[in-house]
Every structure is written in C-alpha cells, then in structure tokens.
Symmetry: C2
Subunit: 341 residues, 2 copies
C-alpha cells in the first residue's frame, strides 16, 4: 500500500442513511512516531448503534465528525510499530477508522487478541465474544430468566439476537424469535434451536397474531432490539410481571419524532406490572471477565453458534451499513478489509 483509503463522513443523514452521506478519500500513509502503532484493518464491525453517532443530537456514543473518517470496532494486525507493547504482526482490536490503516498514537485504546483464547473464528471477537455477545449476556441478565419462562427476541438472527436466543435456551427458557425473512426464521429454528419463530414482515398488520401463535402462553421476557410495532405486540402478549430489556430500537433510528409510530399500549406496563430496563453495554465493562469466562466455555463446548454476514472490501462498507439498517443483512455484519494473514 502506498496510500490509505478512508471512508469519510460527508454529510449528516436526514432520515434514512444514503450513499451520499459517505465519501472515499485516498490519504497519504501516516508517519509512525515514537510510541505510535499503525494498524492494518482486517475485519470491521458494522452495528446499529453507529446510526446514532451520525446525528448531531447527542447519542450515548460520541458523534462522528463531518469531514473525518467514520469509526468502528476493528480487528487488525500491527503493520508498523514504534511501541514495544504492540509489536509488528500482532493481532489487535480497537475503535479505528473506516480505512485500510489507522495510526494509533501511543497505541491508546488498543487491545491485543490471543486467538488461542477461545478456539473460534477471528470475526467472533467482533461478535459472540465481542460487544454484541456481551450485550446479549448483560441484557438478558436484567430479566432474571428462569427455566420455563417464554423469552421473545426481536431481530433474532442479528448480531445480538442470535446470542440472546441461545443463552435463553441454555438458561432453560422457551425461546421465540422474530426476523424479517423466511430464511432467517428457518435459521432460528433449524440451526439455533429456537422453539418457535415467525416472519414479522409476512405477518403484516397482525404481528400480535403471529406472536400469539408462536407463544400461546404469553411472554415472560422480551429482549427488544427494534422498538415500534413489535414492542407494541410484545406489550399486548406479555404476561403479568414480564421483564422487558430495551437494547435497541432499530425500527425508529431513521425516523423523526413526527414519523415515529408511538407506543399506544403503555397502560400494560401498569396493569401487568411490567419492568422495562434500558441499558448500554459500555456501562457494564466491569463484568467483562465474568462474561468472557462463561461465553468461552459455551463456545468451546459448541453450545453457541454464530452467523456472520461478510461484506467484501472497504468500498462495500457504506452500502453494507445501509443494508444492515434495513435488516437486509443475515447474521452479524462485518466488512473484510484485508486478508487475515
């Protein structure tokens, strides 16, 4: 490489993100100063929370800056180093640019990856063992899952949902998922062991009917990744003392307040004595070791599977991000920027 391709945040989206919000720039390869680490990106993670960083309004993550590269969780290899902690060739993880390479001054924020730690594909460090896996594990913990509880998961074949459902099964729950294509629904029941699943798009205006058919005894736990009409249906189908964990509301991220279909049946929260808990996984970083221990055991025992959706090449990242916001990905979305070796 003689130049470094970077995907630039060109303009803020109003509503849906479009390709016009991105630009690509060929920058000079950066100089590596004393203590600095230059990382060549291998896999980059695309996640729904990044949509919030595109808004001028403050999100829980710091906002992207117009004219600068976007950033994402990246697994890469040290390409050049003047920092003994991160020798050339080491596998590292960090929040880096959407780019071929990122210069990390002083190696700040980088974490070394030991690929032997949990005999899993490298990409899983962005998935089951990464932020999505920990999100599933922390979030489900808020709901006190008990054997026999019916657990409902939305965006169930997505980065977080896949893990939620499988942990739910390991905790003894009856697990019901929803996703937006028949292929995803088949994956949930045939490959991941969900007890039931349905296609919410095929259900049209009767999401509640489809949910009730899949969960005839009602739901005790709802792991919400989408908000909107599916949240309304979950409130309708909830049993008394149901626990809702509010992890994400991807159906609403591209809508203005005026466009958002409001939740009209919040009275169920009172009448059914429902608890709703919102959370951001980064507030729970102190539980990392506990999560790693349990998840690595599950992975080594083959108890958790994980599907990824790989977009090929840095150029493909903007379109892959837009597709993910529309639910067109199948599994956790990553971008392969360069070869593993």
């Amino acid at each position: 490489m003689t130049t470094n391709r970077q995907i630039i945040f060109k303009s803020r989206p109003e509503g849906w993100v479009t390709l016009d919000n991105f630009d690509i720039r060929e920058a000079a390869m950066p100089d590596v100063g004393d203590g600095d680490v230059l990382v060549r990106a291998i896999y980059m993670s695309l996640d729904p929370y990044m949509r919030g960083r595109m808004d001028a309004a403050k999100s829980y993550a710091a906002g992207f800056q117009i004219g600068e590269p976007l950033q994402a969780r990246v697994i890469g290899r040290v390409a050049a180093s003047r920092n003994a902690d991160y020798p050339e060739g080491a596998l590292v993880f960090g929040t880096l640019d959407w780019a071929d390479v990122t210069l990390v001054p002083g190696g700040k924020g980088l974490k070394k990856i030991d690929p032997a730690a949990a005999d899993v594909p490298l990409t899983w460090h962005l998935g089951a063992l990464g932020m999505p896996g920990m999100t599933a594990w922390v979030g489900l913990g808020f709901t006190d899952p008990k054997p026999g509880d019916t657990l409902f998961v939305s965006a169930a074949s997505g980065a977080v949902g896949q893990i939620v459902g499988q942990i739910g099964r390991l905790r003894g729950c009856r697990v019901v998922g929803t996703a937006g294509t028949d292929a995803k629904v088949a994956y949930l029941t045939d490959d991941l062991g969900f007890d039931a699943a349905f296609n919410y798009r095929a259900a049209g205006d009767d999401v509640l009917g489809a949910l009730q058919a899949a969960a005839p005894d009602g739901i005790d736990i709802y792991f919400d990744n989408v908000g909107g009409p599916i949240l309304e249906a979950a409130l309708d189908a909830a049993n008394r003392f149901a626990r809702f964990v509010e992890c994400g509301m991807i159906s609403q991220y591209n809508l203005t307040r005026e466009e958002t279909p409001g939740i009209r049946n919040m009275t169920h929260v009172v009448r059914k004595a429902i608890r709703m808990q919102g959370f951001i996984v980064s507030d729970h970083a102190d539980r990392r070791a506990e999560f790693d221990a349990e998840m690595i055991d599950w992975l080594k025992a083959g108890k958790i599977k994980y599907r990824i959706d790989v977009a090929e090449g840095l150029d493909a990242a903007p379109a892959a991000f837009i597709a993910m916001l529309k639910g067109e990905n199948f599994g956790k979305q990553v971008v392969r920027i360069s070869a593993e070796d």
Copy 2:
C-alpha cells in the same frame, strides 16, 4: 332507612364515562342471616383504577357487572350484625357497593378500623393510610430515591401524588410536581412543600419546556400517574439511569387504542438506560405492616398532609367519578354517604 339506594352499572362506557352509564335503584333492606354483617356506608373512595373495571377487557381488578351495583372501598359502621367479630356500631372498611348499605355474608373481607391508631381524620383511612398512601409508598420504593435526586410527580395534587411528593421530600429529593390548575400548583408549593410545580394545561404544547424550567438539572425519578404527553416529556427530560415508576395512566383510560397518542421517544429508555417499573399495589399486600408503621409515624409527627375532595351524598357519586377522571377534583376524591356518627 326502609329502602337501600344502590348505584347500578347500567352500561359499559365507550370512551368517556357519562351519567348514562349509571342508574339508581331502590332495593329492599337485606335480611341479615347467621354470620352476616350489614354495613352502613359513611365514606366511599373513588379512584381512577375503577375506570378499568368498567371495561369488558380484563383489567387487573375484577370487572363490574352490568345490572349490579358498582363497588368501591368504603368506610362504614356496622348497622346490624349476626357476627360476633363485627358488633353493631363497629367502624369497618371493605370493598362494598355504591349504596347506603351492603350486606356482607359472613363478614368476609371486612376489616375493623381503630380510629385511635393514627389520630387522623376517618377519611384518611381511604387516603394517606389507605390504598393511595400505600401505592405512593410502595411505588416510590421501586425508584431507590436518594438525597439530591430530582423527583417528578404527575397528578401531583391527586390521591397518590400528594403523598409521593411528601415522601420524596422526606427522602431528601428535590420534588417537582405538575397539576392541571393554578390553584393545585399553588397548593403543591405553598402547602405541601414541593420545590417547584407547573400547570401542564397552561403549558399547552410545551409541557417539556415547563418541565425543564421547573427541573433545570433534569429528572432522576418520574412517578407517573398519567401516561401520554407528560410521560413523553419526562422521557425527554430524564437523566441517564433515571427510574420511572408506572403507577397509572389516567390520560389514556378513556381513549381507544386508535385515539391514544403513542409514546414516540422510547429510544430514550435505551440511550439513557432508564428503568420503568409498573406495579399494582395489591401485589404488595405483604408490606402493609411496614407501610403502616412508617406512615403512622409521619402522620403523628405532622410530616404528611392530605387534602380530600368530598362529594356530598350517594347521588353525587357518578358525577364525582366522571369529574375525577377529567381531573376536576382537588385532592383525593371521596363521597360522604352518611354522617360519621
């Protein structure tokens, strides 16, 4: 009395309750059989939850039956008894008919009142020491109030809200209330010691602006009695890790799903890591003794005040109930059906 007036549930309301939903009937005085207790009503409590009992759809309380007397929490005096546990003249409390008298077979469900227990007006057994007081105490307990927290209360001069605010002050919170008239707002700050209050009706479309002016540092706790647009404003004004307790949603009880203004900013629950807890006080009856002990101490020490709104005479009950649902009462609504002695 030679006959017993009863208010009958004539027809189910569709939307707002009207006087046409009620009828009055003159029934014969009931015979008192072995073990039975005949109670003459003194004060009857009118509470928002009763609206839910008028719907055919199941509420958390058993539904009212068309053609039968409505029921309410009543303080009365034993008028005739063939039950040694409830001698004639004893003050009792029970869920009785909207009527001059109710026959209680076997005295079932009646509770004797010791008016000396907490040197307070008799009506307070329907208020500060009754279901509304315990609702306030139990509900606020879910929010872990800490000194310095900003606590926001809606329907703040109502049966539950008055107590919530005063307990909040006793717990060291900064307390902000909202109510629907200037007189109620003045009562909150001048008589009950709220730190700030505002008239949500006067705020019109800018409830959020009025709330932010009253709570410039945001809110840490929201005690929700109303749902709807004030809940939306509370979500907007909430600080990270805010705790919402969902006690009631009176703004929505008379609306169909289609008429209900939905909550469009639930993404704050995720982004601000908000916890919302719905509850029904009757699920927490095991905490009665603990509540009584703390509340009686506060009442005896003059630390809790309580305003009631008395409608005079059984005939006035339907109109008083309708007015309460519209927020036209000022303080906890009761009906005086007969004299205390």
